[in-house]
Amino acid sequence: MKPSLKHFFDSMGSYLARPGGESLERLYTAHPEWRAPSSRVSIYGDFVRGHVRTALEKLFPLLRGAVGAEAWLALVEDFTLTRPARHHEVNRVGEGFPAFVADAVSSRGLPPYAPALARFEWSDFAVFVSQAEAPAPVERLTPNPTLVVLEQPFRICAWVRARGQGAARGPEAGDELALLWRHPERLVTYYQEATPAALLVLKMAVEGLSASDVATATGMPEADILESVARLSREGLVLAPLA
């Protein structure tokens, strides 16, 4: 690459890393002969910064609402300065956002549940676009390959389900094991708190246990176990062989 071209990219790189009046001035100083109107050049600074913000706003709508407009903008602005866009797929900028939020909770006075909510919203998207495609048909009861399990100190699932109502109050504190997976036919993310029935059916799928094995070992009625398996395979948490 010619030095003049490297100089061009270096100068654009400094400007686009932190678009603003000062960096724009420095960009023009680096190219004294340049006559392009600065109002046109700054369009690119605004665009580049806007792409990260737009992606985060699509990925984290609940978190954005929960922290409030001003805190949200400051959070996004500072996260953007960490240059999160290291992947060609724009939504990947959200991958590191929950960790950034977790580091920022106390210094910015964010609600204590913000990191868990951020992680939940990222997982919701990650499951939706997971590249683990469900095999069809399966030979035996199989856990949904897109399944993600989140251990969190807030009751996020119930709060997300009831969003819109009582949104002024955040999720209640309390340990929760959240299950998120993509429905194999509808291809949308499903989520629920891990119930004893869900954990049992997942264990059956992972360990290859039959309903009668489980009935014998636990004394639970076999019909109840079969009913749970049928329901959770309709919901796609597990994949069942064709009857």
């Binding site: 690459m1 010619k2 003049s4 071209l5 490297k6 061009f8 990219f9 654009m12 790189g13 686009l16 890393a17 190219h31 002969e33 340049w34 392009a36 109107p37 109002s39 046109r40 050049v41 369009i43 690119y44 665009f47 580049v48 792409h51 990260v52 992606a55 240059r83 866009a85 290291r86 992947h87 060609h88 797929e89 724009v90 939504n91 990947r92 939706f128 676009v129 997971s130 590249q131 683990a132 495609e133 993509r182 291809l187």
Partner: protein, 283 residues
Amino acid sequence: MVATTYARRHGLSPLGVGIGLRRSFYEELPRTQRTLDWVEIIPENFLSLGGRSQRALDACAERWPVLPHGVGLDIGGPDALDEDYVTGLAALVKRVDAPFFSDHLCYSRLGGVYLHDLLPLPFTEAVVEHVVPRVREVVARVGRPFLLENPSYYANMPGGTLSEADFLRHVVEEADCGLLLDVNNVYVNARNHGYDARSFVDALPLERVVQIHLAGHTTYPDVIIDTHGDRVCDDVWSLYRYVLARTGPVSTLIEWDQDIPSMAAVLDEADLARAALREGAGR
């Protein structure tokens, strides 16, 4: 009329009119009863995302030719080509058996960070020299004909020594690739930079045009932004006819990516383009 030599050399014939497989069309497009000749995809939406996007892609690929049109190749940028991206792109092109693929003559990545924008390059010999081997590398790795699109730009970048048309010509001729002529970009650039759109078209290597883009834009008091957020305007339709009169029929895409009123509205625009193609052919 110029012989479309690049297309002919590569055995590419005009495919008619296509629209983009956008997220909001994933359910509706594969089932449409409307006339559609081909479908464009943004590879970035399919390379690392599973689920709905893959189902929609497979369903479309069963019905129509699919042409990948990238935004992240970064053909003009200072970073080495993204291994992961180029490998994935090559696999995707083969998977949908695309007759050709395309991206923009711009840069979109600096220091390993994707800027998720199509950023303009200075119109210089140094850039031509930098871009040409990169195009050749991509073509060698993907193994199909490749087109570069003329991007829209709102400011001339510093140090330019070539005219925009000469810059485009040098790159596509020296790299021996095709040209994806975005007619709306020509219109937007001509208005934003005060030049004549038709003279610009006349100065292009039209024998390399293998695909055309048509789109809408947004007019502000001091600049026109290439938003892909509206119908194609009358001036762009007439510039399209002007181009077709010189190139003959060319595969044409309606780009509508923002404020999409409905898929039917996009297909209505595609019908208009198809009528213009027929009208051109009947001349």
